[in-house]
C-alpha cells in the first residue's frame, strides 16, 4: 500500500478523528497528541487539498511514529484510535517516546 494513494483531506480527517488531536486555535495547523494529560507528540497538518505529496506523507508518518503499513491502516480505517494509543504506549514503555 503506497502512502501516496490518499488525499490530504483523508489523512487530516483520520488524524483528527482517531488521534483526537487538540488544536490551540481553529487556524492552527499543529496539534498535540495527548495521553494521560501529557503532550506526547506534535503533528503538523498538510496545507491545502488534493493528493498527498511524497515528502509530506513521509514527514507526517515520521511525526506520528508509525510504520508505512500502520500509517496506511490508520488512514484506511483498519487501525482505530485505541490501536494507535496501544502502539504509542508500547513505544513509551520501550523507551523511544
Amino acid at each position: 500500500m503506497s502512502l501516496l494513494n490518499f488525499s490530504k483531506q483523508e489523512l487530516t480527517r483520520a488524524l483528527i478523528e482517531k488521534l483526537n488531536l487538540s488544536f490551540r486555535t481553529g487556524k492552527e495547523r499543529n496539534a498535540w497528541f495527548e495521553l494521560d494529560g501529557r503532550k506526547i507528540l506534535r503533528v503538523t497538518m498538510p496545507k491545502g487539498r488534493g493528493p498527498l505529496t511524497p515528502g509530506t506523507a513521509r514527514a507526517i508518518r515520521n511525526q506520528v511514529k508509525l510504520s508505512t503499513e500502520e500509517y496506511a491502516d490508520l488512514i484506511k480505517c483498519g487501525l482505530l484510535g485505541k490501536d494507535y494509543e496501544a502502539i504509542i504506549r508500547e513505544k513509551m514503555q520501550r523507551g523511544p517516546l
Partner: protein, 144 residues
C-alpha cells in the same frame, strides 16, 4: 589498366569503451541497474531526488534570536521542497527551498512559543527534550 581495386580495409586505431567490457562486467552493470530500478520503484514511498543540510542562523522574527545555528535538512522532490529539523520533529513543505527555509524558521519559533511556558510535568519525553534543545538554542532578542 583494368586491374581490380583492392578491397577497402578499415583500421580502428583507437579502442572504444565497449572493447574493455568483459561478460562479467556487463552482467554486473546490468544487475546494478536492475537493483537501482527495484529500489526506486519497489519502495512504498518515493525518495527525494536531492537532499542537503544547511545551518540557519536566524528565526526571522523580531522577538526571537538564535544563540547557535540549527541544522536543517532540505529534501527536494519533484513537486515540493521539504525542510526538516529531525531532532525537533519539525517539517515544512513549500514549492521552493527559500520558502521552505522561511517556513521551518516559523515552525521552530512556533514550537518554542508553545513549549516555553509549559510545565515539564505536562510534557512527554519527546517534548521535554525539544524544550531542552530549544532552551539552549533560542533566546529572546534584545531591542537595539
Amino acid at each position: 589498366m583494368g586491374g581490380r581495386r583492392p578491397f577497402p580495409t578499415i583500421s580502428f586505431k583507437s579502442k572504444t569503451a565497449l572493447d574493455d567490457l568483459t561478460d562479467e562486467r556487463i552482467q554486473s552493470v546490468l544487475m546494478r541497474s536492475v537493483v537501482v530500478h527495484v529500489l526506486k520503484f519497489g519502495t512504498e514511498e518515493t525518495e527525494p531526488a536531492f537532499v542537503r543540510s544547511v545551518p540557519i542562523h536566524d528565526l526571522n522574527t523580531a522577538a526571537l534570536d538564535l544563540a547557535e545555528p540549527i541544522q536543517v535538512e532540505i529534501e527536494h522532490y519533484a513537486d515540493e521542497v521539504i525542510s526538516k529539523v529531525p531532532e525537533l520533529d519539525l517539517w515544512a513543505s513549500e514549492p521552493t527551498e527559500s520558502e521552505a527555509l522561511l517556513s521551518i524558521k516559523k515552525a521552530i519559533s512556533d514550537l518554542w512559543e508553545e513549549l516555553r511556558d509549559e510545565p515539564e510535568s505536562k510534557l512527554g519525553a519527546l517534548p521535554r527534550m525539544w524544550k531542552r534543545i530549544l532552551g539552549k538554542k533560542v533566546r529572546t532578542r534584545v531591542p537595539a
